[in-house]
Symmetry: C2
Subunit: 343 residues, 2 copies
DNA sequence: ATTAGCACTCTCTCTCGATGAGTGCTAATA
DNA sequence: TATTAGCACTCATCGAGAGAGAGTGCTAAT
């Protein structure tokens, strides 16, 4: 069931128009506004066919057509032009980053803000992932003798911490010693490397019982991923309220409630991603509360390693071309900034 | 212009009823439901007086009365009974804390969630404030030679960090030396104490230029308060959507947009507070976007020092008695938890 | 294959009247 | 003098009904 080029053209026009105006598109609009050289009646016939094929639907008999989820999918896969940002938009983004160039947290947070300023949807940006980051300093601090705080500083300037519990008290001097040891061995390693390394040294050099237990605890933390306090920053939550699709309070509530649960979003962003940018439309999303939304996610890397993600959540009637352009540009931007931080 | 006890009674009934039902209260309701032993007509006369005095108003001629802001204020100051939580509510709260007893961030975040589960408003909880916290470990780490990350670990297990910029490169060994010095002098001090102390030692023992400059930089950070990355956790943002007063999308948008700006909320919570709990109603709030909301804030302390705040934001038609009870109970709860952490 | 023309459908908006909740006032009552 | 019953009046709300308008589907002509 392939589309003729004219059908493709019409589908594209309908989708673009609907994305802009949020209102069913009529045959007349198409025939008049975009000069295809055919009459409204012809357009109507084509539209009827497109509906039969499942790309369009009608809210009611005497209304124009709106794209179906299948229609959007086809558009995104086959028809969508590759858009690039205007100079003005680029400038806006670049200026935005000039204010937040020091701390990673600020950069990530600012990214979310910037995104939701240039596109009217909600954005989410995940904090650089620690597993592949290199550690440049670690320290163990006793909180109350039995609970020890492990603090790890990465070369990006981010900090990971974890409380380790011990059945026996540990003196502070002992912890200091182990901290020194920790830094001696682990400096410059990523968690992954530390994990591998730990196994090899556990029995050899660190013979003392307490130290060994601490190390084992750290390893356990690595295994359980409990270090990865993957913080996610949101931007433009209020944008949802401007979207006509979500005029219904219940819908908005469902979405905002979803956005409140950080771990749900973490799952969302955590999906497998073969391309740099992927789009999921409507019920393609697994999470129920956002099944009438579309989600665009992009990855950002450092030294070839995936370290974070950017997500944009909006209605299925989303400006896909623009969102893709923004997300693409911004992820490259973050990559550059992070590279700069590391020189 | 004092109220008779009967007028007070009627005002109280009206406010309580309106808080529950969110609908103008009629004279008949009052005369029938709450047996005051007087007729609706008498109630009407009293209501008319109360309106004249500014405690009540009418949405339109043939509707019941609703409390004015002045009415709420009178209620809160003079009439409101002191409520305590039900056993069930206490249990809910206590259970909630059992899951999050290790890291402060989790405790604070969980607090916000708990609050907005037992009251249908938005809650905000500020992270323990660092200025009065004691530091148990500090470390300087070179990021790129010119930028140095100062990391401070408090006895509560929270971490403060700040990037210091230097016009000259500093070797890592030097930073390690200074770190040792830092801990030697500052261990167990609060930022306030460090500031005072710094001034006294700056010329004496730390004579070396680089160390002196670093110290000056730290001091500058203290002065500018730039350490105080006062994180605020939100709970129950979606609750706003259930409030009939905010049926208007524009109103909701205004409020949610406000909640998105962390620094605005920081200002909100930062207000002077002589009592443990204070209430501001409607236009008593300085921030424009929440002038049709009420805000209840409570402080929590540790060793007599104010270290954080809890806020609840809702409509002026707020269950003040319950909110006050919750906020009061929870702040005491946090205080106990923090005390426990420090033994 | 395309298109003009027309009947038909359905939503949206506006108006109108009925309904009912609630008040304010007046006059009677304790 | 305070209270109350009674009644007229007000105003929001709801539903029905009419009219307008946008858009389609179908048919017949090109």
């Amino acid at each position: 069931m392939k589309l003729t080029s004219r059908q493709g053209k019409i589908l594209e026009i309908i989708i673009k128009d609907f994305i802009n105006k949020a209102e069913p598109v009529s045959s007349r609009t198409i025939a008049k506004s975009y000069n295809l050289g055919i009459s409204a009646a012809t357009v109507r016939n084509e539209m009827s066919d497109l509906e039969e094929m499942g790309y369009l639907e009608q809210p009611h008999t005497s209304a124009g057509r709106t794209p179906t989820q299948k229609g959007y999918r086809f558009y995104v896969d086959q028809l969508m032009p590759i858009k690039s940002l205007t100079q003005k938009e680029r400038n806006y983004i670049n200026t935005g980053y000039q204010q937040a160039l020091d701390e990673i947290d600020n950069i990530v947070q600012q990214t979310a803000k910037i995104i939701s300023h240039i596109i009217p949807y909600t954005s989410m940006v995940s904090h650089p992932h620690m597993k592949t980051n290199k550690y440049i300093h670690g320290h163990l601090v006793s909180l109350d003798g039995f609970r020890v705080l492990l603090v790890l500083i990465t070369e990006l300037g981010t900090i990971e911490k974890k409380i380790l519990e011990f059945p026996f008290g540990i003196k502070e001097e002992k912890l200091d010693e182990i901290s020194v040891l920790l830094n001696k061995y682990f400096k410059g390693m990523s968690l992954e490397e530390i994990e591998r390394y730990l196994i090899s040294i556990l029995d050899q050099e660190i013979v003392e019982q307490q130290a060994a237990i601490i190390m084992q605890n750290i390893m356990k933390g690595i295994e359980e991923n409990s270090f990865c306090t993957e913080k996610i920053y949101l931007g433009g939550t209020s944008n949802i309220l401007d979207i006509p699709e979500f005029k219904d309070r219940e819908k908005v509530k469902k979405i905002i409630r979803f956005l409140e649960e950080e771990h749900l979003m973490a799952c969302l962003l955590d999906r497998e991603q073969t391309n740099k940018v992927i789009i999921s439309i409507g019920s393609e999303n697994e999470s129920l509360p956002i099944q009438d939304c579309s989600l665009v996610t992009a990855t950002y890397h450092l030294n070839g390693q995936l370290i974070g993600k950017i997500g944009v959540l909006g209605p299925t009637r989303m400006e896909y071309d623009k969102v893709v352009a923004v997300v693409d540009y911004i992820s490259t931007n973050i990559e550059n900034i992070l590279k700069n931080i590391l020189n």
